[in-house]
Structure formats: C-alpha cells, structure tokens
Symmetry: C2
Subunit: 102 residues, 2 copies
DNA sequence: TCGATATATTCCGCTATAGAAATATATCTG
DNA sequence: CAGATATATTTCTATAGCGGAATATATCGA
C-alpha cells in the first residue's frame, strides 16, 4: 500500500501526526484518537505496511515511531505542481502589495 | 471532498497530471487515461468538487484546467514532516559522500 | 429540424474498508 | 502458575467507491 492510500483515512493522518510529535504506544494512541483499541491497531497495521511507521517492542508495549521516507512519494508527486502553487502565491503577494501601497 | 480524498484514486492523479500539462477536454482525457468516457466524467466530477480543476465550456467541449490552490492542503500537511524528510536526505548525502571520498 | 458529437448522470454489481465485538497472543507481576 | 495488562487478529455488518452499460442532456452542422 502506498503512502497516498494510507493517508486518505483522516484518523490515520491524525495517528501519524501524533506519532511524529512523540513516539507512542498503542494505548497512548487510543487516548489521542478516541478510537477503540482494535481500530487503532488496524490503522497502525496499514501505516506499518505503508512503512510510514516502525515498531520497537518493549515488553508488552510496542513503541511506534515515524518513518518519513515514504512521504517522499507525496513530495515527488507535488513537485511539478509546486511551480503553479508558487505562481499563485506570487500573484497573491502582488495583490496584497497593491492593497497596501497605492 | 478534500484534496487528499480526491487524489487517493490513482486514475485521478493521472488525470490531474494530464490537465496540469495541458488543459484538456473530456475526450482528450479518455484517450490519455484509457478509461471509458463515463468513468472519466465521474473522476472529473470529483476533481471539480475538490476544486482541483475548473471548467470552461466551449461549444460542446468543456476545457478542464488545473486549479492548484487546494494542493496547498497537502503542502500544509507535509510541512511539519519536511524537517524529518530533510534530515533523512542529509543522512543520505553524508552516506554518499562517504562512498565517494575515503 | 435531424443526426452526430461531447459530456454528464443513473443504475447495477463488485470489491474494499471502517468500526465494533469477541477472541487470541504475548508479556508482566505476584 | 494465575491473573492482569498490552496488543493483534478475526468475524461480522454496513457503507463507500469504482467501472461498465445504458441513458439523458446539450450543442454543433447540414
């Protein structure tokens, strides 16, 4: 499963955000996301398959950590669009300058 | 529908890529994507709802053009991850330097 | 106006996926 | 070993999304 597919699910985006901020155990993520434990485990499985997270067992606990590498796929996809986005922002800047200056 | 949801579908990514390269009519996109015309029209409807494209009627034809603005959502989502990605790339660079130098 | 062209919409069947509940597995503690 | 804790997996149901075929709508040209 690719990063795009994995990140459609809003709850998975939420989970990955939480993991980025701090490596977390499943129970910590259950608290954060307000989902049932099985639901969280299943989302984590998807994130694992997409290699967006890694797991480090620690007794009964399992620490989930961010692996940002697959996000490069999104970066790469966006790359050709960045110029358009920038052009747009430049236009916005000029507009704001006009508002302010004359 | 948000840009994320709209862009999960690989065919929609393909269609948006084609539209970025050149504004296109539905039939042009049917050729490009190798899908049926109804399928393309339905994907375009989703892209329209996500405001990723705009339409300009021209007789029977309808020209679809890129509107990059909603992609800012992806940029914004990726922003906090960019640091991690860059760190990773730095690591790769160092590794490659090591390969080359000593 | 009639047929042809371009596009959109509807209907249908299929598959994928989310969530809940129950169950399984593994590890800790006493 | 027994119970408690942490996590994963299975099973089920409901729903959403895709694609194709058929149909509807709009516009062009003769």
């Amino acid at each position: 499963m690719d990063a795009f597919t994995a990140l459609v699910e809003p709850n998975r985006r939420l989970l990955l955000d939480a993991i980025r901020v701090r490596p977390s155990t499943v129970n910590m993520l259950v608290e954060t996301a307000g989902l049932s434990q099985p639901a969280v485990s299943k989302h984590l499985k998807v994130l694992r398959q997409a290699k967006l997270v890694t797991v480090r067992p620690d007794g009964q606990k399992r620490w989930y950590c961010l692996n940002p590498a697959p996000l490069q796929e999104l970066e790469t996809y966006l790359e050709p669009y960045r110029q358009f986005l920038n052009d747009r922002l430049d236009g916005l800047e000029r507009y704001l300058d006009q508002m302010q200056a004359p």
